[in-house]
């Protein structure tokens, strides 16, 4: 991402004389960032080692927050749910999005524009309104999901997706994929449109097979975007919260819809234990950090950021 950051700017002497100017331009960002990002971050470090009682009383408890969480079965339930959700999001969303983008790229214009708009439109609804829409879509009796599946297969119209422990995770995944595939598709489509035309022509004239063209001409252009989409999907999936929170109006039967951020929310804002919430937050940060680094390392084969 930052490899080209250091191309030398000309006339450095001019810039040196005006060394106050960049600070002026950075000032709005810095002031708000200090108050609402840096300071809270600094506080969050201490908070993880404290126990709060109300807003103003705190006692230092050392690593107790972490040991309580790591001994809590619900935490592992949330970790498992989030990991499963992330895994399936990646496995379902990315290949489907890529396939759709290929179909879009190689179809005629009016169809392509219309289909692109349709596929992308769910993203505009956002997590919250997607959640609100799907509470009714998954509702027993009147819901769209049961009625549609009922047309194609034997399916109980009274199926209650959001109260059935086996169907909670699929329901969240369906709603989430419905909303997010469009964005991934647009990213891939943008990458496909950047594949040099001349190169594709040359490959065709040289008699390259479809697979060879794909492997050696298209794939190199798509790969960096693919990595970006992979990291984006992973980071977002690990931070899933609003969608299941609204769909289930809680955590679902036996916590089957509880995510790590939901677990954090419960600690901080339902139980008023801000310290434990912060500790969960740091655990989540470490997980996201490790996953992102690992993905970058595996997919690029080298250590770059």
């Amino acid at each position: 991402m930052l490899t080209k950051a250091n191309t030398p700017l000309p006339s450095a002497h001019y810039l040196m004389r005006n060394s106050r100017k960049p600070l002026l331009f950075l000032l709005p960002y810095l002031i708000i960032g200090l108050i609402f990002f840096a300071y809270p971050l600094y506080k969050a470090i201490f908070l993880a080692f404290e126990q709060t009682h109300g807003v103003h009383t705190k006692t230092s408890v050392g690593l107790a927050n972490f040991s309580t969480i790591l001994a809590d079965a619900v935490f592992y339930r949330a970790l498992l749910n989030t990991t499963l959700f992330t895994f399936f999001s990646i496995v379902i969303q990315i290949p489907l999005a890529f396939l759709l983008s290929m179909f879009l790229q190689y179809s005629q214009l009016p169809l392509m524009h219309f289909a692109r708009l349709c596929i992308f439109s769910p993203y505009l609804a956002g997590q919250v309104f997607t959640g609100i829409m799907f509470t009714l879509i998954f509702a027993p009796g009147i819901g769209l999901a049961n009625q549609l599946i009922g047309i194609f297969a034997q399916w109980e119209l009274a199926t209650n997706w959001l109260h059935n422990p086996k169907l909670v995770m699929p329901a969240i995944l369906i709603a989430s994929c419905w909303m997010n595939i469009g964005l991934c598709t647009i990213y891939f489509l943008a990458a496909l449109q950047n594949v040099p035309r001349a190169l594709q022509e040359a490959a065709r004239i040289d008699g390259a097979r479809t697979w060879q063209t794909f492997r050696h001409v298209i794939w190199p252009s798509v790969k960096p975007v693919g990595i970006y989409v992979l990291i984006l999907t992973t980071t977002n999936a690990f931070q899933l919260f609003e969608l299941p929170f609204i769909l289930l109006q809680g955590t679902g039967p036996n916590h089957t819809g509880l995510t790590l951020v939901g677990y954090l929310y419960n600690h901080s804002f339902l139980n008023g234990n801000l310290g434990a919430g912060a500790a969960v937050g740091w655990i989540l940060t470490i997980i996201i950090f490790v996953f992102s680094l690992a993905q970058i390392k595996i997919t690029t084969g080298r250590h770059t950021l």
Binding site: M1, I32, K43, F103, Q127, I137, Y187, A190, T285
Partner: protein, 287 residues
């Protein structure tokens, strides 16, 4: 060869229309549900067949119920109030965040200053921190500032976002430095160079980022849930989430509200569509 080409076109049509249907059907269902009368809601999956269209089957009753106002501790609050709240908070957040990000991106792209590399590294690192981790310390700050139950608590904290700074920094790096040099020689003030020369040149990324920020702010649920207590100041997200239980017997009313809530982002997208896709490309390929 011709048949093969036809087969390909046919396959394209089938796949793309199935996909389009899958993604568009929920919206269609919501629109139908909002317009159908309560009495016939379960009679038709979507809209009733054309010959049964009448004011008994399709009407605006759901919208009428939605807009009739509700009694709260702050007196009668009408639904349009929530729409105005959401619009106000989302648009001010968008403008403010775009402003701080573009300014900071400009400073990074066109100036040398000490520790610049460290700053860029920090900005990238910040992306990995889940915003939720900071929610309780931010709560404390807002409490101490006396911003509880004020729109400020929703607008100011999200005004800084390192994603925006990085996007603008990368886009502005591609602007030829000679243009700035010429303007500076001509005695153009730095802020004018920023607003009149550089910003128009990075229009695609501005469009993309505008939409992304607006969508995030429009869908902001957690912050108003925690910071806002007066009913009259609530945004659509929180209110519609309440309606899930409040109107659990009148699906149409609640679908009408959802339909309204999706319209502003859709309009913004249609306006920005062309630049949005271009901006996404430049951001993704380099990011």
């Amino acid at each position: 060869m011709i048949t093969r080409q036809r087969l390909k076109t046919g396959l394209n049509w089938i796949v793309l229309s199935t996909a389009s249907l899958f993604f568009i059907i929920p919206f269609f269902w919501v629109a139908a549900g909002a317009l159908k009368d309560k009495s016939v809601f379960t009679d038709y999956l979507f809209f009733p067949p054309l010959r049964e269209w009448s004011s008994q089957t399709l009407n605006f009753n759901n919208f009428r119920v939605l807009f009739q106002g509700e009694e709260t501790l702050q007196g009668t609050v009408y639904f349009w109030q929530y729409i105005v709240n959401s619009l106000f908070v989302a648009s001010t957040t968008t403008v403010l965040q775009l402003f701080t990000s573009a300014l900071a991106g400009y400073a990074l792209a066109f100036f040398h200053f000490p520790y610049k590399k460290t700053v860029i590294w920090l900005l990238t690192g910040i992306l990995m921190i889940p915003p939720m981790l900071l929610l309780s310390p931010v709560y404390e700050v807002i409490y101490n500032l006396g911003w509880m139950d004020s729109y400020l608590s929703l607008i100011v904290p999200p005004a800084v976002n390192s994603v925006g700074v990085i996007l603008f920094y990368q886009a502005m790096k591609t602007v030829p430095y000679e243009i700035l040099e010429a303007a500076r020689v001509d005695g153009c003030k730095e802020f004018r160079i920023f607003s009149k020369i550089v910003l128009p040149l990075v229009k695609p990324i501005s469009a993309t980022y505008t939409l992304v920020v607006f969508l995030t702010a429009w869908g902001n649920f957690l912050a108003p849930n925690i910071f806002i207590h007066s009913h009259e100041k609530l945004p659509l997200t929180v209110v519609l989430n309440m309606y899930v239980t409040q109107y659990s017997e009148q699906y149409g009313v609640f679908l009408a509200g959802t339909l309204i809530a999706i319209i502003p982002p859709a309009i913004l997208f249609l306006v920005l569509q062309k630049d949005f896709v271009r901006g996404l490309t430049s951001g993704a390929v380099k990011g």
